[in-house]
């Protein structure tokens, strides 16, 4: 019974809205909303290759943190050894970060 009501409710609500609202077919309504400013170009524009570089760098640094989760779960048992190992791991990641930084891959030209 409940499931019928659940299915019915959105259908009725949408239909009612459709029937009751005033029909004003304007182009303006279909245009993408740009915070009230007139849109200047098509949304499907080519964007800077810089985005890809940032995205690629993000993927690497993001996924590498996966190793932190299992480490955090059994941190108690690993004790000092685990802590130092993780420092080494993070250290290598940070070296990578310094390299990326110094090479200027993070600069927005």
């Amino acid at each position: 019974m409940f499931i019928f009501v659940a299915l019915l409710l959105p259908v009725v609500a949408l239909l009612a809205g459709r029937l009751l609202r005033p029909q004003m077919g304007h182009d303006t309504k279909l245009r993408p909303y740009e915070c009230g400013v007139e849109p200047e170009t098509d949304a499907r524009e080519r964007y800077s290759v810089r985005y890809y570089i940032i995205a690629i760098l993000f993927v690497i640094f993001d996924v590498e943190t996966i190793f932190l989760f299992p480490w955090a779960v059994i941190y108690d048992k690993l004790a000092l050894f685990g802590f130092i190992e993780m420092l080494v791991f993070l250290g290598i990641l940070i070296f990578g970060y310094i390299y990326v930084w110094k090479k200027g891959a993070l600069e927005w030209v």
Binding site: K77, L78, A79, F81, G82, I92, F95, G96, I98, Y99, K102, K103
Partner: protein
Amino acid sequence: MPTDLHYLAILPEIITAATGIAIMLLDPFTAPQHKGRLGWLGVAGLLAAGVAGAAQSGRTMTAFGGMVQLDSYSVFFRWLFFGVSIGTILISLQYLKREGVHHSEFYALVLFATTGMSFMAASVDLILMFIGLETVAISTYVLAGFKRSDPRSNESAVKYFILGAFSTAVLLYGIAFLYGQTGSTRFDRVAEALSAQGPSAFFLVGLALLLVGFGFKVAMAPFHVWTPDVYEGAPSPVTAFLAVGPKAAGFAALVRVLYSALPDMENHWGDVLGLVAVLTMTVGNVAAITQSNIKRLLAYSSVAHAGYLLVGLVARNELGISAVLYYAVVYALMNLGAFTVVVIWSGAGETRVHLSDYAGIGFRYPFLTGCLSLFLLSLIGIPATGGFMGKVFLFAAAVQSHHVGLVVIAVLNSAVSAYYYLRIIVIMYMQEPAAQVPSVEIPVPAAVALVLAALGTLLTGLYPSALLDLASRSVLAVR
């Protein structure tokens, strides 16, 4: 917490990886004209790693939860890989400057690839083997495309990447089946489970996918099709490295997997590899005959040589594996040497890689052409060269295990290969030179690499026993 954390067991790998990281960190602080110093730092790191490896020779231990095994086998391959990487750096020092791509990442990537190769030879666990393989693969994808603004280098990298990633995925799928059937990724446990259960369908699927994956990595026919394109487009020192290092590492890991993890299925993989060996040799040699670009020719020749190496695997006896190790070293020497000549002679922008560009330079550049002739003769397997002794050992092992037909085909193949190797020598010494023979400068580091490779090729041919002893002591760890 595992109890067998013997960091000493992986000290050479730690040194190479740390040197690679150090090079990357120092790179932004190094003036462009001093990038060569970082190359020398790489050589120093590799030498230090070699010494660290030597200090451990004769010891046997497993470390890190049974993932790494330090034994004579891993020490043998470590030396080979360190040597190959030193050679690669020596020939690229001048090359990178000449081609205008002198970035020190090149040296770092070579060191990372070396770390991966070294782990491939030392791993006794499928996980570590996979990670080692990927470390090599990812570093070499970048190396192949190192000339970023050269479309040919791009294309080489894309092709290598697509086929390499595909083969890795297939290999991993096979590994998953092996794990599912045995409940462990350690070679010894896989072997135990296999002998307890007998070869089931899952084992066969796993083995087949594993062989396909390795087939791509070491360029066995019919999975060799990427080789000529990738080798032609990649920067020449990288081609030299690819033809020697990752291929030897692939064989190192393959031998370990087959003999340590899947010995009870040797009838299955032995027969398959026998067929593949015949196919690989024949395809490589026949295709090489028609090539006019020396890099493509050497690419097909490297396919053919993978076929010869497989003969040693098919033999399935101790001499067979020692012969594989022996031939891996000899092959590394002569191929690195031949590619060094190609690197030097190709000139800026690698314009002179056509066989006709070698016409008549024999007496103009006696050092270069003399060395190249020696390497080519060794690749054919002419007596008094390392290539000859290597083939003798490989074929003797196959005869010992009654694979006479295979040996006959292999010898016939060597005869075919003589045609295209000798053709280069004929072109160099007997054809009329072009109107203007270009002048090339032989950079000192590359000349050193050339001399060392030539000496090695001769010494292994004249005094084969020392290296063979070392190789046969090394295989005891595997069998």
